[in-house]
């Protein structure tokens, strides 16, 4: 069975990783021992375009849910990253400094953004969507907001 829910739009396959939790903006978290890993969805990287810069809060910084903890700067726009959870940044993906394109090529894997030590995990997890929920939202967005996706 596939690890992903997927749909085709234009000529692109857009995937949503099962087992992760999502914000409406398309940030995901995956649960790890005592921490969460954060990244962006396939939809976000595809609609954002080629990544040029990924800027994130430094390890040790505290962050609040739905407050900016970084930005993705692409060839065409800058995307503000709103944190899915409150907590402390443990690690920022250092590989993205030299290779921001990892966010495009592997958004659920090597393109992860940061890990957080969450402060209000149980409560804030309830504010996030399951993969199925985000997938439905993504389908609606594709229908209403996009005529064409830029090639990547």
């Amino acid at each position: 069975m596939s690890e992903y829910l997927s749909t085709t739009f234009d000529k692109f396959e857009l995937r949503v990783r099962k087992g992760y939790y999502y914000t409406e903006d398309g940030l995901w978290i995956s649960m790890e021992e005592g921490r969460v890993r954060v990244g962006v969805s396939d939809y976000v990287q595809r609609t954002g375009g080629d990544m040029a810069f990924v800027e994130l809060l430094k390890p040790g910084s505290t962050v609040e849910r739905q407050r900016e903890f970084g930005t993705l700067e692409t060839a065409k726009t800058t995307v503000s990253l709103l944190s899915p959870m409150s907590g402390t940044v443990e690690e920022a993906n250092g590989r993205l400094v030299e290779k921001p394109e990892l966010v495009n090529s592997d958004p659920y894997g090597e393109g992860w953004l940061a890990t957080l030590a969450p402060r209000k995990l149980e409560n804030e997890l309830k504010t996030l969507m399951s993969a199925d929920g985000y997938f439905e939202l993504m389908l609606k967005k594709l229908e209403t907001e996009h005529k064409k996706l830029e090639v990547r």
Binding site: T8, D10, K11, F12, E13, K147, K148, V151
Partner: protein, 137 residues
């Protein structure tokens, strides 16, 4: 044919830098994509297609394609046939430019004659798209 979720046509254009017809091919394809048939068409990036881009090749394998070549070297058509399958239709820009009175200098920036040709080519591509989709239905 495989039952596909959407009826779309892939357009594979050369964008040969060496001659103005390559530029016309490129502009004509973009006009179809952006203005004339935005919901019915998808562009296949030829360099990515040649380099093995999996989305490009997969699309061209399962969906009908129209190739648009600047000259009779037919790079887009040949590549499509080699890597994905025979295109549903093929257009060659030099076939459209044989009418007298067409001036087309400026491969970098199309002059008014070149733009007019690009628009004419775009209309022709759009008609081919309609025919391909009608046949599919």
């Amino acid at each position: 044919m495989v039952d596909l979720p959407e009826k779309k046509v892939g357009i594979i254009s050369c964008s040969g830098e060496a001659c103005v017809e390559g530029t016309i091919s490129r502009v004509a394809t973009r006009l179809v994509l952006e203005k004339l048939r935005p919901e019915e068409t998808v562009t296949i990036c030829l360099p990515l297609f040649l380099a093995g881009g999996k989305e490009e090749r997969a699309f061209a394998k399962y969906y009908p394609t129209i190739t648009v070549d600047g000259c009779d070297k037919l790079c887009a058509k040949t590549a499509t046939e080699r890597y994905s399958g025979k295109p549903a239709s093929s257009i060659v820009i030099t076939d459209l430019t044989r009418n007298p009175g067409c001036s087309r200098s400026g491969r970098r920036k199309l002059d008014s004659g070149g733009l007019a040709l690009a628009e004419k080519a775009a209309e022709r591509i759009a008609k081919e798209v309609d025919q391909v989709l009608d046949h599919w239905r």
